[in-house]
Amino acid sequence: MTMTQPRSILTPDGVSADFDPKMSDDEIMHCYRTMRLVRAFDDICLKLQRSGRIGFSIPNLGIEACQVGAAAALRKDDWIFPSYRDFGMALYHGVDPLDMMNNMFGNANDNAVGRQMPVHFSFVDPIHFVSISSPLGTHIPQAVGAAYAMQQRGEDKVALTSFGDGSTSTLGFHSGMLFAGVWKSPVIFLCQNNGYAISLPAHEQTASEDYAIKGKAYGVPAIKVDGNDLFAVREAVAEAAERARAGEGPTLIEAVTFRMGGHSTSDDPTVYVPNEEVEEWKQKDPIDRFERFLRDKGMIDDDKIEATKADCLAEIDKAAKAAAAVGPPALETIFTDVYAELPDHLRAQGAAAFDLAKRLGDAAAGDGAFPL
């Protein structure tokens, strides 16, 4: 793709002419630590997956600035409709890594009660980080609906929905953009163009000159930003949020970035990504770039970097060990939450399942007695 260059604030070297980050030093350092925390979470999950302790993981290598920059522009009473590659947004707003690790292990303390695959998080506190679905694009119109409710109640909240380049091809993207444009919904569509939808390069996903231009057809203002520049992403989301809160409607943001790892731990990207492309993007690593900025400002040095890395790894490792020690959910959790009230046929199926497990002697510890 050629077309308009994405808006950057930092130079590739991480320095910038004078600009107002509109964040305190503490907030900036919180962004930095969160990006490092995302990377530590990825590193440890990869090891857990490779050693067979967890079944699956979704790496975020290279896209940390998109997630954290976007989250930094949101308030805690805003809503996030994330993709499965967005958990940095949750970490930024204070979700406990232990809650995330409980999901990775699908244990009894998992918010999703071991029902979802790993990385399919769901949080309502400290921010609405809506339950992640594997089917793509389905969450995009849902964000518009949630925003409609905010609008109806006269709240000045926004809903941010995040998705990859591939999801722009889904029915959900079309419907979401269509409705938000018509309704002038307080929604931010964050398209993280990370280069590949599993193996399909972004330029084969669409014949459009870029993803931002897709806003035009729906009457949704759009901007393309440098997704490896935390400040550029934050600024674009902050501007979009300001417009949304002022009743001026939705914005589409294309954040141009690059997934430097596989789609998931089941994927081998070397089959479809040329090595030169990875090497080129390694030079633009968003964390390295942010560190150059922080050094330039005298906010960090080598010691601080190493201490942050070690501290983040220790925090995630501690969470992983704690989550690993928790057993699986009880048998009856298969049957709960299907409906608000347990219907008779599920009560019967659950009772039969528990009875069989008991007779066969394999009711796991923690399995309770039916009826619920």
């Binding site: 193996s199 298969i334 046929h345």
Partner: protein, 324 residues
Amino acid sequence: MPNLTLLGAVTDGLKTAMSGDDSVLVFGEDVGKKGGVFLATGGLQAEFGKERCFDTPLSEDGIIGCAIGMAMNGMKPVAEIQFQDFIFPAFDQIVSEAAKLRYRSGGQYTAPMVIRTPYGGGIRGGLYHSQSGEAYFCHTPGLKVVIPSTPHDAKGLLIASIEDPDPVLFLEPKALYRSVKGEVPEGHYTVDLSTCRTVREGSDVTVFCYGAMVPVVEKAAAQAEEKGISLHIVDLRTLLPLDEEGVIEAAKKTGRVITVTEAPRFCGYAGEISAIIAERCIEYMEAPVMRVTGFDTPFPNTLEHHYLPDARRVIDAVEKVTAF
């Protein structure tokens, strides 16, 4: 004869069909360079070129809608939906369009095409990489629904599906992709659609099953044998249109019937088998016709081994029908 996995047999079937007929096209998400997320289409792009094996944008609706147009106009599309769980954006195209085209045009237009998609649990895929949605599609007149359980059948049924004049949903039991191996003839052969297969002759209880439940029932049969109970196992392998005579014959043989599916029970395929038996040969039954199925809940992740029917659940039902 080569010894192939079920996955290898699918690839071999695609290769054979593409070699024999230039109008056969294979496409879907990640099927080209990557060869599919399960590698079912591995090597096809290199062998047949990008015009005949290609990646599509991420739109199931687009994949199936375009496949219908290709099929109408002389091509033989074999579209892959990455996981059956992701097929639903294309539900409209499958149910309202592909399945009804022949009927609504009085036979002027048809959609001879195959939709291949991996289905079922057993890979720790949670809610959205584990479902068995066959019942949604078996409720769709005009569609054919095929599920192999052996490498031999996978290739033979796939080629038969590609050569069939009607749209076929070809559900591949992903749990068996690499876990079963068997001899697969080289070159072209077909296994007739709408014929069930006797997996094992037996005399006490007839068990109907398909896909990944076939090896589960075979395991149960070995355990039942030790208890002196002989299971007669039938792999339905085409769910729609069903080999109803084959089902009746097998049911009458023992007078005791169990159907095993991993899909949820309510309005599921096992219920259809029970209904057919109730209508057509209830007088031959010595015991209630039973179902062993997944639960009527979404598919869990950590506890999937409790959700999926196993040999012990089959044996439990066998003991119930034999004790009746």
